[in-house]
């Protein structure tokens, strides 16, 4: 073990062993707060199996008894939820795929190739990070209306309408460029000497090396796209084109009296994300905190 490794692994502890009283207090605080964090999720899950009369029963029923699947049947008759799930999958996959390819391609050029205007163009991209998305909302909507007039397959109320504004993220380019800069030039030079084109290098050299960074970018993008609400809610008008969060918001909005179906809709909307998160936690945490720890 290197001295550096030792230092870092001991860094978890701040000095002496804890006194037993302190230790109990720490665990108590951690357990109570964890219940506060997980409790609402559990309550939603449990409520989604309760018959209508039990939802606000006093005293509250921690375990649904009797339990029913009626809320799940209801949510599919109230709204085409299975369709929303497919919509979310399609839109999110498209946004993630486009970002991983195009952000990495642009990042490679900005990190490793020399061309006139490189710094200026990169600066012009970076400066847009200061502009909040909401500023572009109305013009983007107008652009999508125009696109829809050009072709009914494009723009407002289509998948492309949701996907196009998010097909490339400047932050993604920035993130990938940080990573690609660390790749030694010699590898690229030897590929060039072998006669590989820049596209070939991107595909056969950069993509394999950059896989971990691309995974982080993919997860970061996936979270944003899957959870996005404001833009899909504006660009979609028809009943069948909504994504899950838009459908759920509508459900919560309409059903203020019968809460059961809203709860089952909540479970259906969040379950896929929670499952993927539990399976790939480390990557998720890296993805969402990307760029924050090491500036």
């Amino acid at each position: 073990m290197t001295a550096r490794g030792a230092t870092i692994s001991r860094g978890h502890r701040t000095g002496r062993r804890l006194r037993p009283g302190v230790r109990v207090a720490i665990y108590a605080a951690l357990i109570v707060t964890s219940i506060l964090m997980i409790g609402p999720f559990y309550w939603t899950f449990a409520t989604s199996f309760k018959p209508a009369g039990d939802v606000f029963a006093a005293p509250p029923k921690l375990i649904p008894n009797p339990w029913t699947l009626q809320n799940y049947r209801d949510v599919f008759t109230l709204l085409p939820f299975q369709r929303y799930f497919i919509n979310s999958v399609i839109v999110t996959s498209a946004i993630v795929g486009l970002n991983v390819v195009f952000d990495t391609a642009a990042a490679y050029a900005f990190a490793k190739l020399r061309f006139p205007g490189r710094n200026l163009l990169f600066f012009m991209l970076l400066i847009t990070l200061m502009v909040p998305f909401q500023v572009n909302l109305i013009p983007l909507y107008r652009i999508m209306v125009l696109l829809h007039q050009v072709s009914p397959l494009l723009g407002v109320d289509t998948y492309s309408g949701i996907v196009l504004p998010g097909m490339i993220q400047v932050f993604g380019i920035f993130l990938m460029r940080q990573f690609l800069t660390s790749i030694p030039d010699e590898i690229l030079e030897s590929a060039r000497v072998d006669g590989a084109s820049e596209f070939r290098i991107l595909r056969s050299v950069i993509f394999p090396i950059a896989k971990p960074a691309m995974a982080t970018l993919a997860i970061f993008t996936f979270l944003g796209a899957w959870n996005d609400f404001l833009w899909p809610n504006i660009v979609i008008n028809s009943d069948t084109m909504r994504t899950l969060p838009v459908g759920l918001a509508l459900l919560a909005f309409r059903n203020t009296i019968s809460v059961g179906p809203t709860m089952s809709g909540t479970v259906l909307t969040s379950a896929p994300m929670i499952l993927i998160f539990l399976l790939m936690q480390r990557r998720f945490i890296e993805g969402l905190t990307a760029g924050s720890v090491k500036g």
Binding site: A105, F115, V135, N136, F199, L230, A249, A252, G265, I285
Partner: protein
């Protein structure tokens, strides 16, 4: 001699071969940022000086939209609500995040489990979180039931103008502080333990170690967390839409909610002016953030 002539030529061809693919690689990014960023930013700016409803062509009115906003009680209320949301959220969220990170940084078993618990809401859609809390905070919901146990009477948290904004803010803190926990935890674990050993040798108390070792080491992380948090909080919208729709009596109307509301009622000029007010506020904050980043690099 022939070499001397051939060389520059090959160099020019070589440069060309290098330059063209580079432009091809960045072309999608450049085109999309022109169409979906630069053009919208320009039009938004132009429309903010016009009366425009999306149908008739925009009519130039100069600064009128901006002066109207400054005397529009709905917009001023939205601005005030947003500032309260940001101050309250940023006053509590990062402190909770730091406290939980400090707890997790002790040699505790099950650190992974607790970290997952805190982080779970962070990756959940805000619409989901807002829907859950809307039901929890219902007049007959579990929150009132539990408060009833300690003798606090049931309250319509989201229906009362005096508690709606606080309720939405608490929901947002609950959703977001796990992010700060994870960021702070990573930063804490990168503080070299030599510093703590040295402090111990000097006889520093736990508080002194925190005050003179931990806090200074966390300074850049704290700055990062606050700037990112403030910028994000200023754009609060999803929770408002789901939980209160800006009500009751505009008590939870925020800047972005105000923007979308004006957009929905086809007041594109006014909405664009709101957008530019937001832009100025957030660009200023981003500028500060970039300066902080440069300082660290």
């Amino acid at each position: 001699m022939s070499d001397a002539i051939a060389l520059p030529r090959r160099r020019v061809r070589g440069r060309f071969r290098k330059v063209l693919p580079a432009y091809a690689l960045i072309a999608p990014a450049i085109v999309s940022s022109i169409v979906f960023l630069y053009i919208p930013i320009a039009f938004s700016g132009y429309w903010s000086f016009t009366k425009y409803n999306g149908l008739a062509s925009p009519k130039w009115v100069g600064l009128q939209n901006y002066t109207d906003l400054l005397s529009d009680p709905r917009f001023l209320k939205a601005l005030l609500n947003t500032v309260i949301f940001v101050i309250l959220g940023m006053g509590i969220g990062p402190v909770l995040g730091l406290m939980s990170a400090l707890l997790l940084n002790q040699a505790v078993r099950g650190r992974g489990f607790f970290r997952t618990a805190y982080f779970l809401p962070v990756m959940t859609s805000l619409v989901v979180v807002a829907t859950i809390w809307k039901v929890l905070l219902n007049q007959h919901g579990i929150v009132n039931e539990l408060l009833g146990v300690v003798g606090i009477p049931a309250h319509n948290w989201l229906g009362d103008p005096s508690t709606a904004l606080v309720s939405v803010t608490v929901t947002s803190i609950w959703q977001g502080f796990g992010f700060e926990t994870v960021v702070f935890l990573a930063a804490l674990q990168s503080i070299p333990s030599d510093l703590y050993d040295a402090a111990l040798v000097d006889g520093a108390t736990a508080w002194q170690r925190f005050r003179y070792v931990t806090l200074p080491a966390l300074r850049p992380t704290i700055a990062f967390v606050f700037i990112i948090g403030i910028i994000g909080s200023f754009q609060v919208y999803d929770q408002i839409f789901v939980m209160t729709s800006g009500g009751p009596l505009n008590s939870t109307r925020t800047v972005v909610f105000d923007l979308v509301d004006r957009f929905d009622s086809l007041k594109y000029g006014e909405a664009s002016a709101v957008a530019y007010v937001l832009l100025v506020i957030l660009a200023t904050l981003s500028f500060i953030q970039m300066r902080l980043f440069e300082e660290r690099a």
